[in-house]
Amino acid sequence: MERYWNQEIECMSREDMKKLQDERLAAQVKHVYENVPYYRDLMDKKGVTPDDIRSTDDLHKLPFLTKADLRDAYPYGLLAKPLSECVRIQSTSGTTGKRVVAFYTQHDIDLWEDCCARAITAVGGTEEDVCQVCYGYGLFTGGPGLNGGSHKVGCLTLPMSSGNTERQIQFMRDLGSTILCCTPSYAAYIGETLHEMGFTPDDIKLKAGIFGAEPWTEEMRREIEKSLGLKAYDIYGLTETSGPGVAFECSAQNGMHINEDHFFAEIIDPETGEVLPEGSKGELVFTSLTKEAFPLLRYRTRDICVLTREACSCGRTLIKMCKPMGRSDDMLIIRGVNVFPSQIETVLIEQGYSPNYRIEVDRMNNTDTLDVFVELTPEQFSDTVKDLQSKERELAGAMKTMLGINPKIHLVSPKSIARSEGKAVRVVDKRKLH
């Protein structure tokens, strides 16, 4: 028996959902126009008024928002409620220059947690379950989102955060955790550690896992399912729209249902911005229909994706998105952290290195690795190994501060990194995730 958290919404007829979306969109555009001067200017420049947006069919008239807008408007420029009504912020993982701070009213948090509750229920979660949340807690949305969803469902919630894997497994065994929420790479690592500790899936009670915040493959899904003896489900979200729970996988395990009563999805041509018909591959764009404090309209996610309304075996009528198939920009997701090559370049220039670099991203034992190859300059050369290694450490430290993850630095000879005509190939992603 398929369980739903909110059957009325999750199985709503297309007509009723469209009506709900139309009403919510019209009200939301009015709210944004009246309260967010930044977006009002964008609309004015395009000659669009709230009256022009009567239904989701009019959405294409609205201007897009991009990460650059979020940066320009940082921190309060896109805030649509007085700070006195906001109760929380969340932020994207340590990416100076591209940091996103999202604001929440209590109502926003309730709706966000409700979306996560739908995801937990869709994998079979009830108040009988023990839900172990090993996403990071703090500014990162993963921990707080699933934690809140788990409370709503009534699961016994273990707010573990990530790390200390042996302790994770000890809790898992002692308290009989049945649902695991974390990044897929951490799930794979927990699986390996379990086996290293001499246990098998028979020694734990996990039945389902909700894994997201980074790209993963079907092979990884099978591997994790085998090593932990559970069913592995995908979840999608981004800090800009709320966090995890924008879309979630159901028993069909073949794509994620978008909570489209809250987040209206479009697929556009990333070059022209033109809206593409259902089933086309393009860039995913979200419009928040219900968020009060930080309601983004037509936010370009840069994730390349396909939407489908084909009937799903779970009975939900919510539109489905496939796993993101790539990016329309050069952002990399490494260990769940968003990394832009331009940030690496900034650190190199600040530290006096040549901005000619090469990044290699790989996955070893299910953990992402980041190797940065940097050309040494004559000024930085020293005749002792000690000095050069301390330069590597200093550079790695500066990148860790900027990116939030620790790269391995490799000093190489000047002019040894290929200089190409036009767009340089600075990034080699060996992970084969798409």
Binding site: D383, T384, K386, H410, S416
Partner: protein
């Protein structure tokens, strides 16, 4: 001069790096007196004592390598047990750190040359001389 100019070269750990440096020296008729290689998993530092250091520097630089000159101290060490220990004790007793050292043969019988890289060449030379160790003059190396 009592110090010797050592040529230090940054070499990546990849096939052909060392060959290119030594070939460049050969093509310019530069004679190597001593050679030492410090390596990590990523890179190496090639240290050379040559007969024409300034020319060698230019040649290696033109071949596309990062190169620098580092003054180091050479000591003539008796070719008998305890010969090296005597020199090292003198340096350490003077409170100096030896960053690295390497030995090479010379044309004199019963004596080996040892290169010391410490944090203070002046004090290193004084310490060696006070202990009765002969310091290699650069005139013996350069031609």
């Amino acid at each position: 001069m009592n110090t010797i100019q050592q040529i230090s070269v940054f070499v990546e750990n990849k096939q052909g790096s060392l060959t290119a440096v030594t070939t460049a020296l050969y093509e310019n008729q530069i004679d190597m007196r001593a050679l030492n290689l410090a390596d990590t998993s990523d890179f190496g530092i090639l240290r050379l004592i040559v007969n024409k250091p300034e020319e060698a520097c230019k040649v290696i630089q033109n071949a596309g390598y990062i190169v620098s000159m580092t003054p180091v101290v050479g000591a003539k060490v008796d070719d008998t047990p305890g010969g090296l220990a005597k020199a090292m004790c003198a340096i350490v007793d003077a409170g100096l750190n030896i960053e690295y050292m390497y030995a090479f043969v010379n044309r004199e019988p019963n004596c080996a040359n040892v290169i010391f890289r410490t944090d203070d060449n002046e004090r290193c030379i004084t310490a060696l001389q006070n202990a009765g160790v002969t310091v290699v003059p650069d005139s013996e190396i350069y031609t």
